[in-house]
């Protein structure tokens, strides 16, 4: 079973199973080398200094990111008045909500297919198609989906144009792969005795899945949904390929601004996003650690 806090990680980064249980660790702390400690220090400084610097500059009164002229919220105000940014944000949120929801349904079905349906024809191809979107470079996914949409339009007249719908379809496709990994690892690690008991009592597979399995994997589905939502909100490359002329998502607007150089209102936007996400992840992490700690004595 994985350490609880790691379940917040993107699932593709935790494919290595390990047998060690979670909870309190009673191992004595090993003396560690200064080398390891300095790598940890340097590594975390490397990961965090750029983000923190960017947040700090977002409160600078000056347009330049070189001189500090005073503390100000003016870039936050400028952001609020920027209709292009607000429209793009609303479009991105809408697409992310729809695609995360569909991705959760499809990804959960895919995870059930992989873990609860035994062997079926084409299982190897299925697991391949489910894992590939996790690593496939975005330019390839984007280009190939656009070619599909264009070809479909010529053949059957659908989709009639490109916009929010086609972006959502693209996001559902990679989102479901991520949801599938999260839900699949939960299904694989889960104690099956409840499901087996329900089967023994005469429950049909479909009823058992809906009444027993689904409530048990609901937390994994939720974290899958959040992951798909975040990834959709963040995608620039695939959306650039499959969007139409009138649908610019937030990353597309940010990219076109940033491509011209650094702009302080984007610093403010980044600070807001980091603030929201940081708070959310910190709360989730704290809740998980607390649950793990409470459950730890009971498990032993």
């Amino acid at each position: 079973m994985q350490t609880d806090s790691i379940s917040l990680a993107r699932p593709d980064m935790q494919p290595v199973p390990n047998s060690r249980s979670t909870g309190l660790d009673l191992r004595p702390m090993k003396p560690r080398s200064t080398f390891v400690l300095s790598c940890l220090f340097f590594g975390f400084a490397f990961l965090y200094i750029p983000i923190l610097t960017m947040i700090a500059w977002s409160f600078n009164d000056s347009r330049l990111m070189s001189v500090w002229t005073g503390f100000s919220f003016r870039w936050y105000a400028a952001l609020w008045e920027n209709e292009q940014v607000i429209d793009a944000l609303l479009l991105s949120l809408r697409i992310a909500f729809v695609s995360a929801t569909f991705a959760t349904v499809l990804g959960t079905l895919a995870a059930l297919a992989m873990t609860r349906m035994g062997r079926f024809r084409g299982r190897t191809a299925f697991s391949g198609m489910l894992a590939a979107p996790l690593v496939m470079p975005e330019v390839i996914t984007g280009l190939s989906l656009l070619m599909l949409f264009v070809s479909l339009q010529v053949l059957i007249g659908w989709p009639a144009g490109r916009g929010a719908d086609t972006i959502a379809i693209a996001h559902i496709t990679f989102g479901m792969a991520y949801v599938a990994v999260v839900v699949q690892s939960r299904l694989a690690a889960m104690d099956r005795s409840l499901e087996e008991a329900a089967m023994d009592l005469g429950g049909r597979p479909m009823a058992v899945t809906l009444d027993i399995t689904l409530p048990l994997i609901a937390p994994a589905m939720l974290s899958g949904w959040l992951l798909a939502f975040t990834l959709s909100l963040d995608d620039l490359v695939i959306a650039s390929f499959v969007s139409g002329p009138e649908s610019s998502t937030l990353p597309m607007v940010i990219y076109s601004k940033v491509k011209l150089g650094i702009t302080p209102d984007i610093n403010a936007l980044a600070a807001i996003i980091v603030g929201i996400v940081g708070t959310g992840v910190a709360i989730a992490g704290w809740l998980m650690v607390r649950t793990a700690r409470r459950q730890a004595p009971a498990r032993r």
């Binding site: 490397f46 895919a110 975005e138 009823a207």
Partner: protein, 304 residues
């Protein structure tokens, strides 16, 4: 659920349920993931034309089947593409190695930390993923620019007289890739290192192995699955990376993801872009298959 329902229709319902659970996601992936590859392969053999869609049809009632190898011939002859592919491979390889060199000791340190510290450190590794990738790359634009923090520090310390050009160079691209993909390296490494049986290391030390020897003879070989997983997770996506070379790289930073993007959006040559993508997929097939076999093994082990 109707539990006392007529058994025949219930059995039919179950068969339908089973078919839906497998069939719906299967159909979706087939249509929106697999078939698109067949389509780019087919378009890569077409000629660009002015029209909608801007490429020649594969089959025409009058002319029959039409396919041309011109795009691939052009790819082979024009240095731009060779240089882009080779440079991408080099940048991806070096960045993967750098991630491994920095990520391994970090993962090791996290795995050996006390439980509370460990959870906190893991959270700190994971946190950047939930914030925008684009904005994290953008953060480096501010850091590296001529008036940025780094140049100011260097000049303040008197190490350089004028600003050093960091932004828009290959150096910035390496930095950006290592920065963005480092957590992808740390987490699988952490997962294997955390699962290692420490008694083995203790036994090796008791038998007279020196710390360095124990580390290289026992710990490193035993963490090979994590090294492989982490390396593939960094190498494959960074090979086709677009955002980092586009924002941090200079004109000479020809990475294939950027070349493909520009080919498509600037030159509007869809068949050529398809050919570029097809070759990129061919390069990536081996690492992707490795990754999939790895995931399949992990999944099997997970079930036991």
């Amino acid at each position: 659920m109707q539990r006392g329902a007529d058994p025949v229709s219930a059995a039919r319902g179950e068969a339908l349920w089973r078919r839906a659970v497998v069939g719906i996601p299967y159909f979706w992936l087939l249509v929106f993931f697999a078939i698109p590859f067949v389509i780019i392969l087919r378009i890569s053999f077409a000629d660009p034309i002015i029209g909608a869609p801007p490429f020649t049809p594969l089959y025409d009632a009058e002319e029959g089947i039409y396919a041309t190898g011109d795009n691939y011939r052009f790819l082979a002859e024009d240095d731009l593409y060779w240089v882009s592919y080779l440079k991408s491979i080099r940048i991806a390889l070096v960045s993967t190695l750098l991630c491994l060199l920095l990520g391994y000791p970090m993962a090791y340190g996290i795995a050996r930390a006390r439980s509370t510290t460990r959870n906190l450190l893991l959270l700190l590794v994971i946190l950047p993923f939930w914030t925008s990738f684009l904005l994290r790359v953008y953060a480096w634009m501010g850091m590296l620019s001529n008036q940025g923090v780094i140049n100011k520090a260097l000049m303040g310390l008197g190490l350089t007289d004028g600003p050093v050009q960091f932004l828009y160079t290959d150096f910035a691209v390496y930095l950006g890739i290592v920065y963005s993909y480092l957590p992808f390296m740390i987490l699988p490494l952490y997962a294997t290192l955390e699962g290692l049986d420490e008694n083995l290391m203790d036994a090796a030390a008791d038998l007279g192995g020196r710390p360095r020897q124990v580390f290289f003879d026992i710990t490193v070989p035993m963490s090979a699955p994590g090294i492989l997983a982490g390396s593939l997770l960094v190498f494959i996506p960074s090979l086709g990376e677009f955002v980092i070379p586009s924002l941090l790289g200079g004109l000479e930073t020809l990475m294939i993801g950027k070349t493909l993007f520009d080919e498509f959006f600037v030159n509007r040559d869809w068949p050529l872009a398809s050919a570029v993508a097809t070759v990129l997929v061919l390069i990536l097939i081996l690492p992707i298959v490795l990754f999939q076999r790895y995931s399949a093994t992990a999944e099997r082990l997970n079930r036991q």
